[in-house]
């Protein structure tokens, strides 16, 4: 039973399209995150939600919009996709925001062509 699951695992789309990535966790954690891992394997935080409230919003283009319908789900919607958006996007969750409790999903590889 997967703790943090993301769908889809792979996403290939054309520039200008709008796409969504879904994330669900069954750990009962209060906090969920979106991280982006670029081609150089550098992991960088994008957003964080705690009990459905946005608490971290790094300098991410406003084409990216997270949505948390409940504390077990955090989705990422991306408008007007650009070539530079190609990366692996990881969802993660933790209890009480403590880094040691981070559980990551297996990632969504987004390729914009």
């Amino acid at each position: 039973d997967t703790a943090v699951s993301q769908t889809p695992k792979y996403l290939v789309t054309q520039m200008g399209n709008d796409k969504s990535i879904k994330c669900e966790q069954n750990l009962g954690h209060d906090t969920m995150y979106w991280y982006k891992q670029d081609s150089k394997k550098f992991l960088k935080i994008m957003f964080s939600y705690n009990n459905k409230e946005l608490i971290i919003n790094e300098t991410v283009p406003n084409r990216f919009s997270p949505k948390s319908p409940d504390k077990a789900h955090l989705n990422l919607h991306i408008n007007s996709l650009e070539l530079g958006d190609s990366a692996v996007y990881f969802c993660a969750s933790s209890q009480d925001g403590r880094g040691g409790g981070y559980t990551f999903g297996s990632g969504t590889r987004l390729t914009v062509v």
Binding site: L43, A92, G100, G101, Y102, G107
Partner: protein
């Protein structure tokens, strides 16, 4: 701004050849330093949390240590299954700062 620098970028070892990975950090008050392992095509997997200088944690062939400026991940008598990218991350103290700042990782390859 919090910064994490890992070295070397890549390390190739023979099975049984012990070594260490380095993580240097700059943070405005450390809440915790974390080590993760990442296998190809997978998400990072948590290994250790260190909270204060002098602390050590061990798990099988891995031991993590922490000073005020850096952390080391010591690998004793590694096996091929230890091959992975090892990521270091820091979390700053204070307020509701939940984010982890990651280094770029060290790609470890252990040859049989």
């Amino acid at each position: 701004e919090d910064q994490v620098t890992q070295s070397p970028e890549a390390l190739r070892l023979q099975e049984g050849e012990s070594s260490s990975l380095n993580c240097s950090y700059t943070v405005s008050g450390l809440r915790g330093l974390f080590w993760y392992r990442q296998d190809p095509g997978k998400g990072p997997e948590f290994l250790f949390t260190l909270y204060s200088a002098g602390e050590e944690k061990e798990k099988e062939r891995l031991k993590a240590t922490l000073t005020k400026k850096e952390s080391f991940l010591h690998i004793t008598a590694p096996k091929p299954e230890d091959s992975a990218t090892y990521l270091c991350a820091v979390q700053a103290a204070g307020g509701s700062n939940y984010k982890l700042t990651f280094g770029k990782g060290t790609l470890l390859t252990v040859n049989p």
